[in-house]
Every structure is written in structure tokens, then in C-alpha cells.
Amino acid sequence: MAPFSLPADATGAQIQAVEFAYERSPDQDARSPAHHRVVVVGAGPVGLSLAIDLAQRGQKVLLLDNDCKLSTGSRAICFAKRTLEIWDRLGVGSRMVDKGVSWKLGKVFFKGDLLYPFDLLPEEDHERPAFINLQQYYAEAFLVERASALRNLEIRFHNTVAAAEQRADGVRLGIDTPEGRYEIDAEYLCACDGARSPLRSLLGLETHGRVFRDRFLIADVKMAADFPTERWFWFDPPFHRNQSALLHRQPDNVWRIDFQLGWDANPEEEKKPENIIPRVKAMLGPDVQFELEWASVYTFACERMDRFRHGRVLFAGDAAHRVSPFGARGANSGVQDADNLAWKLDLVLRGEAGDALLDSYGAEREAAADENILNSTRATDFITPKSEISRLFRDAVLDLAHEHTFARKLVNSGRLSLPSTYRDSPLNTPDADAFAGAMTPGAPAADAPLGQNWLLRELGEGFTLLVAGDVPAWASRLPVQTLRVDTEGPVAQRYDLRPGTAYLFRPDHHVCARWRSADEAAVRAAIKRATAC
């Protein structure tokens, strides 16, 4: 595609109006199906992140999308610290943070009263905030900008995958375009085609889980309001009795308001502005002037595919797993899927890793999906009690939480997205030495200031060996980037470093091994294990 760049002052309306052109590809005139090493389907936040990551690693990537537009409506709005750190690696983190609204504080209300405030990142010394709020169309636009600057990444809009046949050495795809169907062969296919994943159906695969019997209204309104930049959550507020409500700030004076409606609500009626406006007025008061930007009535499910890898096809994002929205675990976990998959697929395509490395994508991200589904299910059960007794307990917890801090730990208005630690990953080398703190094998690297920079900025695109104190001479013989850090200071504290301690980080910046004193053979063995060789 032609380089795409947004004017610095592009408005949400302008971005949502962008239409990418359909362009005929030489593949459509080929006599036999053109061969592609890796094809990604779906140009949402997950597919774009994955395609950019693969392309940055030097792969030639084809990204197919059935549409020609960016996200309509705000949709996903909360992007977590870990997602921003991944996007930093992809060169778009600052673009997102500059436009987004950074936040870390929340408040929980019950009836008319403030129950308690909370802080999602009480620790200082992190480059990125706990969260930013940013309309999904901005996030996608910034990713498309980045993608269009990579010459080995081709995006084809108006290309709908209509047939998929799994073969021993790849997948044959039939693709519908405005000018008819054509076929291509892909060595590997990444399905990032969303919750209703057409590829899942085409391949005869299923997803399993639990559908919640409740309905929610999202109303994004534009207003000049002086609410603080915090996540406010109400249980049973006076303006919306017996249900819950959520208020969240987005850029451009847009505010996300979420109302629980109950299962009996009529979605068609509730979507009408004449029914939405009174609800918003009841919340904001009669004097606040606002405009309705976007609204949607939704139900939700927590479900996942049994396996994310099926031969040469890898499922990621909503196509592989879905959660309820409480906790911002949908888009964030999808971007983490991409982060996990890109380096593995790159090494397999280069012949530098065993095929089993792709199985570890499934194992690690299926476990992560379970963790997200568990957290999101618990929050949903707390927010929308399904029986008289669960409502009784819920309200008792809320009554007690006002005065007694123990009960606040039981209040669940959403456990907000944190990256998973791949504790049981086959890629980890188990600790042989004793360590304190959270940076166990499988953990995502915690950031910390490092000289004039940040630790995560200093970790490489490949494996990185971090050493406290002088880097041993043998390290230069290894296929790793080395990083010397001081034996005192914030990095040393977060990683429990002593002189000679070494950490091995994977290309996705998860810890895979650590030693109090490393030697060449041990590090070589750990790299071998982490690449399934």
C-alpha cells in the first residue's frame, strides 16, 4: 500500500472516514497460486501488531483484511502498560501514549458513596503508565501508519478469505475481491480475524465457553466535563438503580459510559438515542451539555478454542479467545499473543528453531487465556450476580467495604489486565539458585530506569543476556545481545541482582533463565531449550 500518514491534528471523525483503496495484486493474475511464507488475516490491533513484528524481524508478510476501514466506534479503549511496552518495540508506543489519556487511579462507588480509591501502579520509575485510554480507531490508525512504512509488509484491503484448506506444507487460501476470487499458498497462516473468526469456521473448528445472560450499553459521549482522569465504577448508583455503571475518559473530550441493563432489556430499543440520552442525563445531571458519539448494546461471552495452533494455522486475539470487557483483557491479551507468536514464527521460518516452538505459542497463550477468562469471569459474576444468594454476598461485601479494608479485596469491579507469567512453559530453564521477587522464569520483564534510558529499551530484538557487573568474555561467542547493569540501583532491586547474577531474556522480553553465576554451557543450554532446538 501507499505510505499512510495521518495529519497531526486528525480528528476521530476523519480517522473513521478513512477508506483504504483496493489494489489489484499480481497474485490475481498468476497461473498457479502464488507462494507466501506467512499470511496474517485481520488488520485489527492484533493482526497489525503481529504483521509489524514479523516484518521488523525481516519476514515478508502479507496481511489480508476483508474491509477497507479502521475500527468504527471507540470499541477497545484501555491499553495496558505491557501492550504499550510491546508497541514501543514496534515503534508506535510514543504515538499511542502521546495521543492517549494516561491513568492509573480508580474509584469504586456503592449507591451514592465512595467506597475506596485504588492505584494500579503505585511504584515509581516505570517509563509507561499503568494504562492509556485511546479509541481503537486511533490505535489502528497508528499501527497502519507504521505498517505502511515497512516495505516487506503488504496489506491488501477488500480481500476476504472465503476458502481455506490445510495441507502438509501450508494452507491454500481462496480470496474474494471486488474483481473475483484468486488463490494463494501460505506456509503459515495467522488467524487474527476477530471473535466471529471466519477462518475458524472455514477450518471446521470451534470455540467453547460461557455466554453471560446480561446486556450492557456503551455510550461514548463528547462533553467538556471536569471529572478526573480516573476509572469510576458504581455498584447500584442512585442514577441507575440495581445495576452497575462505569465512567472513563478518552482523548478529545470523549467519555466512555457503560450501563448494565439486565438480560430483559430490548437491545433495539436501548440503542435509540431517545432512550440513551435520559440515562446519561440522569448520571451527569441536567446541566451538562453532551453529544452522543457512538453507542452499542452488547452481551458477552468468556470462551476460547481448545487449541490455538492447528498445524500451519495459528489463532490469535479474539479469534482464539474472548473475555467480558471488565478488566480490559481483550485487546491487551491479543497484542500479547502477537508478541509471543512473532519471534517464534520468525525463528521457525528461518530454520533456527524447532517446530515445537510453535506448540509453545499454544501452550503459553492458552494458559494466559485461561488466566484472563478466570479473572474476567470472576469480575462478571461479582458485577452481575446471578442468584439471590450471590447478590446477598455481593451487597454484604460492598456494605462492609466502606469501613473495613478486608472487604475491599473482595470487591471486584474488574481485575485490570496484567501480563501473564509463563510459569509452566517448556521454554523456561528452572531456577537452580535462590531468588527473591517476581522475575521468575516466564515473567515479563519489569521495566526500571537504566542510566539515561529504560531497561526495556535496552533489551534486544533477539535474546538478551543481562549481567550484573562485568560481562564475561565467553558471552561474545553466544547468539545473544549482552547488557551490563550495575549491581545496585533500581534494576538490581527489581531483579534481585548480586554481582555475577545473569538473566536471559527471550525476544519477547520474558525471562527464560537466570543464574547467580552463569557459564557458557548453561546459557547455551537455556537458549536451546527456549528455541525448542
Partner: protein, 68 residues
């Protein structure tokens, strides 16, 4: 002395298990389960002043929340 600061190992897991214990029970059965649970936990705690403090706190919180 009754502990009212956070003391549970895993609050979300406890709450889930608590609600799960009531799954598919009638309201009358749920009351019965709750009564038995209080008796079991009371026995486990054992110390009368602590139990009396908990009873008084639960009652005061209930009376005040019902009044508002």
C-alpha cells in the same frame, strides 16, 4: 482482636469458592449452608471475644446499611 484488614491469601479465589458452594441450592438451603458455615468457622476461630466482636460488627453494619 478481630482482624478487619486484608488477611485472605487469595480473596478472588475464596469468593468464587463461596459462591460456587451455593450453586443450585434453594434459598432455604443457602441459608442452611450459611448457618453451618458460620458455626464451622466459629469453632475454628474458637476465641470467644473475637467471635463476639465479629458478631457485633456484622450486626452494626447490617443495621446501619438497612437504615440507609
Amino acid at each position: 482482636m478481630l482482624i478487619t484488614s486484608p488477611h485472605l491469601d487469595s480473596p478472588d479465589e475464596f469468593y468464587e469458592a463461596l459462591i460456587d458452594a451455593h450453586r443450585d441450592l434453594s434459598t432455604a438451603q443457602s441459608h442452611e449452608l450459611n448457618a453451618k458455615l458460620v458455626l464451622l468457622l466459629g469453632n475454628h476461630i474458637g476465641t470467644l471475644p473475637v467471635l463476639k466482636e465479629a458478631l457485633a460488627l456484622a450486626r452494626a453494619n447490617t443495621v446501619s446499611s438497612t437504615n440507609t
